[in-house]
């Protein structure tokens, strides 16, 4: 049989899939016709910058073929051997007992009857379920698609996601400059051009864009940073780890003690105030509350001036370095790169991380945020990019089979009960629980102030849990509690639906095998999130919408998620209600028809060719982010969800005052006396840091940022080619271990050498890793990525067993950012490390 080439898309780039005799032989970055590319050009200092005609996908995408055929694929429906829906359920054996293969018919019977039984016995609110983030791509089959449509039909209790990667920006920065419609991260329009034309220095504060890549946009922006380096733009990296971007960019490395970044920021403000180095006109016209903030910085309110010497004491960064940085920042046009999308970064995933994120906005506010070269820019978005042609993306209501108007019928879920992802295990094990905040608070600032209680009055506790696509053992906090949750008899039935065995899969009673997006039809735009991250594909050099063609039949007995839910709906007598009378391909076509794409290409051509590149038009007009605000004009960027855009308040930010708020009006209105997220930001010593009592017992700080060669818990253990990348895993004695990086001073003190198996531990658990002794990590810090997909306890099913898979999230605290901020804090974590002699 001859070779056929299909098009598809992943969460980090479009691909051409080569198939021979029904088998995928290779996958290349999508091979497009040269004439389809019309590269943009940015002129700066007499030089023209333009991207090559190619797609720079993330590393792991090159290994997607291996992931497709992984030994970890779930091949058949499975039932836990000691689970009997009509007899003993043995929930205590979840995670321990093996499975037996069953037929699809039996599996669907058990799942549908359990759904019926639980809803009839306890009410619909007893059914809950949740997804992980982004294990596949394509809007028809996306996690917000069939799963949400089906669960809404069941009127389930949704689990609210916490903004896990950017907590401080979501709960803090929003109260300083708005942008709640971007979940706290700033608009990024045309900031590449601004940086090339105007930036003299870039401060990358807790930001490693070569690792996190703007989330979905592969390595498109690596070249942009190369250009900036070649232009001689000075780069400063503030990070306890000499990260990968620092490695290739060089520049200055400043390594503060973890959790003290806010002290460093305060000292910079101190230098600016005392040396008269800030933009006073901007502060007067564009901000409010500076007069409340200034006395704190000067020490007039608490007797402690926030001098560089004080900050040196806290952070370990020399006062003279802080002073030099502050002066240069004020003197030169300086871009603040506070995380990959502008906001994000590990420094916001700590105790009181709101205060750091607020300070990032305020520091740049003191230097004229929005003026040329004075942006908050993550360096991973903001290329010239078309915004006139809309194509739905997963976070758009119009981009989901669950909520889009392309459906004739939309199931509505009237159930108001919610659970909070981070405390779901606590909710099951020790109810009641309560918290403030409605998950991703992208509709208003007030959503952050909504109080929730579980169980809600009149609702049931959760009895049936439907887990879909992925695992939290390596990504959330204090994660061995998830094992305890699963082993609770309070969860009467657990089903897990996934393409691969993940760390939570073997906690289920019934396991359903789903197929990947290479085995079904779909459509998706590369890098596009839509919704709260509008125009995210400006992180790509070219917008490309991909007709994700079915490259091969679902393997073994796997089925598309859509088909699985269709079959379950059929068993419940609700098939039409679920499918809306449409096949997957008909949904693809319906989304296509609802978009602007038909103006650019016919369905027939798109379907056959497999992609369409949306180039910028000749009259493209650059509108750099927040330039409008700095210049006192109405918002002129295409930031669609900015609610004030096009109104009489179009010149305002999304704060209550419409200005940058040193003293937050929104916090003042709701929590005027909150000392942990005060009205004006403060440096507050971490509840788990170098001042803590347990620091004596656990003197090392664990730093667990997002990984470089996998995505959350995806790829990694399902893609063993990655085990040959020593930054990712290191093979020793036939096992691929997760690296833990340690400075030679700390290593020598403990007799640890590179290649030793080490135990990282505290009162919450133990994780085995392989030691990498390196000068690139600060003294007192252990650097080990979060997101290991391999939870591999030495004693399976025992929640306090040491894990040798590298799930360092087991060690992190359950405690939240602060009392009214329900965010996770993985980077406030004290541990000890020792050579493992086990």
């Amino acid at each position: 049989m001859s070779e056929k080439v299909f098009t598809n898309c992943t969460n980090a780039g479009p691909v051409s899939v080569y198939v021979k005799d029904g088998k995928v032989t290779r996958m290349r970055p999508l091979v497009a016709e040269e004439k389809d590319f019309k590269p943009w050009v940015i002129e700066a200092d007499g030089k023209k910058y333009s991207p090559p005609k190619k797609f720079n996908v993330a590393p792991y995408v090159h290994a997607d073929r291996r992931r497709l055929y992984s030994d970890d694929r779930i091949k058949y429906p499975l039932k836990r051997v000691d689970f009997d829906p009509n007899g003993e359920r043995n929930p205590q054996n979840r995670g321990k007992s093996p499975y037996v293969r069953i037929s699809w018919d039996e599996a669907l019977d058990i799942v549908s009857s359990e759904i019926k039984r639980v809803s009839e016995t306890y009410g619909n609110s007893a059914i809950s379920g949740m997804t992980s983030s982004h294990h596949n791509w394509g809007i028809v089959g996306y996690k917000m698609g069939p799963f949400a449509r089906f669960m809404n039909m069941l009127e389930f209790t949704p689990v609210l996601d916490n903004p896990d990667s950017w907590e401080g920006w979501h709960w803090g920065a929003t109260h300083t400059y708005g942008f709640y419609w971007r979940l706290g991260m700033p608009e990024q329009y045309d900031l590449l051009e601004d940086a090339l034309q105007n930036a003299e220095m870039i401060v990358l504060w807790s930001n490693d864009p070569d690792s996190t890549r703007g989330t979905y946009t592969g390595q498109e922006s690596a070249l942009w940073r190369q250009w900036l380096k070649e232009k001689g733009v000075k780069m400063v990296f503030i990070d306890p780890y000499h990260n990968f971007t620092a490695g290739v960019m060089e520049g200055k490395w400043i390594a503060p003690r973890m959790g003290t970044d806010t002290a460093l920021a305060m000292a910079i403000a101190y230098v600016w105030i005392t040396e008269d180095l800030y933009d006073k006109e901007y502060v007067k016209d564009r901000t409010i509350g500076f007069e409340e903030f200034k006395p704190y910085v000067l020490g007039e309110t608490d007797g402690q001036p926030k001098t560089p010497e004080w900050a040196e004491e806290e952070s370990g960064v020399k006062a003279r370095v802080i002073r030099a940085l502050a002066r240069e920042w004020a003197a030169k046009r300086t871009v603040l790169s506070g995380g990959s999308r502008g906001g994000e970064g590990g420094a916001c995933r700590v105790a009181y991380g709101t205060e750091w994120a607020r300070m990032m906005v305020l520091l740049q506010g003191m230097q004229g945020l929005g003026k040329p070269g004075r942006s908050i820019w993550g360096t991973t978005m903001g290329a010239p990019s078309d915004t006139k042609n809309w194509f739905p993306a997963y976070a758009d209501l119009q981009g989901r089979v669950a909520t889009s108007k392309v459906a004739n019928h939309l199931p509505v879920n009237p159930n108001k009960q919610r659970v909070w992802r981070l405390t779901l295990p606590d909710a099951i094990l020790n109810p009641p629980i309560s918290w403030y905040g409605e998950g991703f608070c992208g509709q208003s600032l007030e959503q952050q102030f909504t109080h929730f209680k579980y169980p809600m009055d009149g609702c049931s506790e959760i009895k049936l849990f439907y887990r879909y696509g992925g695992s939290f053992m390596g990504t959330m906090s204090d994660t061995s509690k998830w094992v305890r949750m699963y082993q609770s008899p309070k969860l009467e039935f657990v089903v897990n639906q996934d393409c691969w065995f993940n760390s939570e899969t073997q906690m289920a009673d019934i396991i359903l095998p789903a197929c990947t997006n290479f085995e079904r039809d779909d459509v998706g735009e590369w890098g596009a999130c839509g919704g709260y991250t509008c125009h995210a594909s400006s992180g790509c050099n070219y917008r490309i919408v991909v007709r994700q063609q079915k490259c091969l039949e679902p393997m073994w007995e796997s089925k598309s998620d859509y088909e699985i839910f269709t079959l379950l709906a059929e068993k419940l007598g609700r098939k039409e209600e679920f499918t809306d009378g449409k096949t997957e391909l008909e949904w693809v076509k319906a989304f296509f028809d609802s978009s602007d794409l038909p103006k650019l290409i016919s369905w027939e051509e798109f379907d056959k060719k497999g992609y369409h590149i949306i180039n910028i038009d000749e009259n493209y007009k650059s509108t750099p982010s927040l330039r409008w605000f700095a210049e006192g004009r109405d918002c002129d960027t295409p930031d669609t969800n900015n609610p004030k855009r096009g109104t009489e308040k179009a010149g305002h930010l999304g704060t209550y005052s419409g200005k940058i708020e040193f003293a937050s009006e929104s916090l003042k209105s709701k929590f005027p006396d909150d000392e942990e997220r005060p009205v004006t930001p403060k440096y507050i010593k971490s509840w788990e840091g170098h001042h803590s009592e347990i620091f004596e017992k656990y003197p090392m700080q664990l730093m667990s940022p997002h990984p470089r060669f996998s995505f959350h818990c995806h790829y990694d253990k399902h893609t063993d080619w990655l085990d040959d990348i020593p930054v990712h895993r290191i093979k020793k004695d036939g096992y691929a271990w997760w690296p833990a990086r340690i400075n030679p001073v700390d290593a020598n003190r403990r007799g640890i050498q590179s290649g030793d198996i080490v135990r990282l531990y505290n009162d919450r658990g133990s994780v085995l890793c392989i030691a990498v002794v390196t000068e690139r990590v600060r003294h007192g810090v252990i650097h080990s990525y979060c997101s290991s997909a391999k939870y591999d306890p030495l004693t399976p099913g025992k929640s306090d067993s040491p894990d040798r898979g590298g799930c360092v999230a087991i060690l992190t605290a359950s405690r939240m950012v602060s009392k009214n901020v329900p965010g996770m804090t993985p980077n406030s974590c004290l541990i000890e490390i020792e050579k493992w002699e086990g």
Partner: protein
């Protein structure tokens, strides 16, 4: 005639391993007779990436050196092979014939770069082919070059004066990874890590301030270089020879001159250099 080469700019490499992974995707499980036999799952790195960490905290550096077969013009593997099992194509690419090379482990051992791998199951030596099977089909570049996001890998014909690679090779000083092997490798490098010395200057009477703009000179090894400290008082001399003795001297107005001698057995961080008032 042509001479295909890959010019590797180490300064541009961000260590993403795209080259390694795309190479594995092309060859794992895929036979391309008569060019190459399939790459096995383990222990073969036709495009490997070598991480080199240099210097000490707080001034470390890291470089990634992508390392394929060097396609040497004086290839020891060709000399070590029998029956013409290893040969050079007219375009310069050095190929191992997967049929003729059966049993010839000497080919692996002949390579000083250690970029030929032994397939124990098939009893054959294997290595990078610069994706010759694709080039012959009309592809413009090998998979590793196609997947490189930063332009660190440039592929082309050194004999074609109009090729990008020829132009680049004229602009920059290229070198072989290990010139001491004397194999005339076609794969060339720019920016291979050498030794560096770094330091940070502080005035004793004003330790609260960095010392920017201070003149620093380096002499030794036939070099005489000058630098000025940056805003943080930092200075650095990169590209020093190994195992060579150098002197760094610091001169700031009003302060006693300071100098030190060191030998580059490894990279050197002089740390904080405290200048005293005259």
């Amino acid at each position: 005639m042509s001479r295909y080469s890959i010019l590797i700019d180490v300064n541009k490499c961000n260590g993403c391993y795209n080259c390694f992974l795309s190479c594995r995707d092309e060859y794992y499980g895929n036979d391309y007779p008569p060019y190459s036999a399939a790459q096995p799952l383990n222990d073969q790195f036709w495009m490997q990436v070598k991480e080199v960490e240099r210097g000490v905290y707080p001034k470390p550096k890291v470089s990634y050196i992508p390392k394929p077969c060097m396609h040497c013009e004086s290839a020891p593997c060709i000399s070590a092979s029998k029956d013409g099992a290893v040969y050079r194509r007219a375009d310069g690419i050095v190929m191992i014939d997967p049929e003729k090379a059966i049993g010839q482990e000497a080919i692996v051992n002949a390579c000083p770069y250690r970029v030929v791998f032994w397939n124990a199951e098939k009893q054959i030596p294997q290595k990078c082919t610069m994706c010759a099977h694709r080039l012959d089909e009309g592809e413009k570049v090998p998979r590793c070059v196609e997947s490189c996001p930063t332009g660190a890998l440039v592929f082309g014909d050194l004999d074609d004066p109009n090729s990008e690679i020829s132009k680049l090779a004229k602009e920059v000083a290229t070198e072989s990874l290990n010139p001491e092997f004397q194999t005339d490798s076609l794969v060339k490098y720019v920016g291979l890590p050498k030794r560096f010395v770094a330091g940070e200057i502080v005035y004793k009477d004003n330790e609260g301030e960095c010392a920017p703009g201070v003149k620093v000179t380096l002499t030794g090894g036939g070099q005489n270089r000058e630098s000025v400290t940056d805003i943080f008082g930092d200075f650095e001399f990169e590209g020093l020879d190994k195992n060579t003795t150098y002197t760094v001297a610091v001169a700031a107005n009003g302060y006693a001159p300071w100098q030190t001698e060191f030998t580059t057995y490894k990279d050197v961080n002089l740390g904080e250099i405290v200048l005293e008032r005259k």
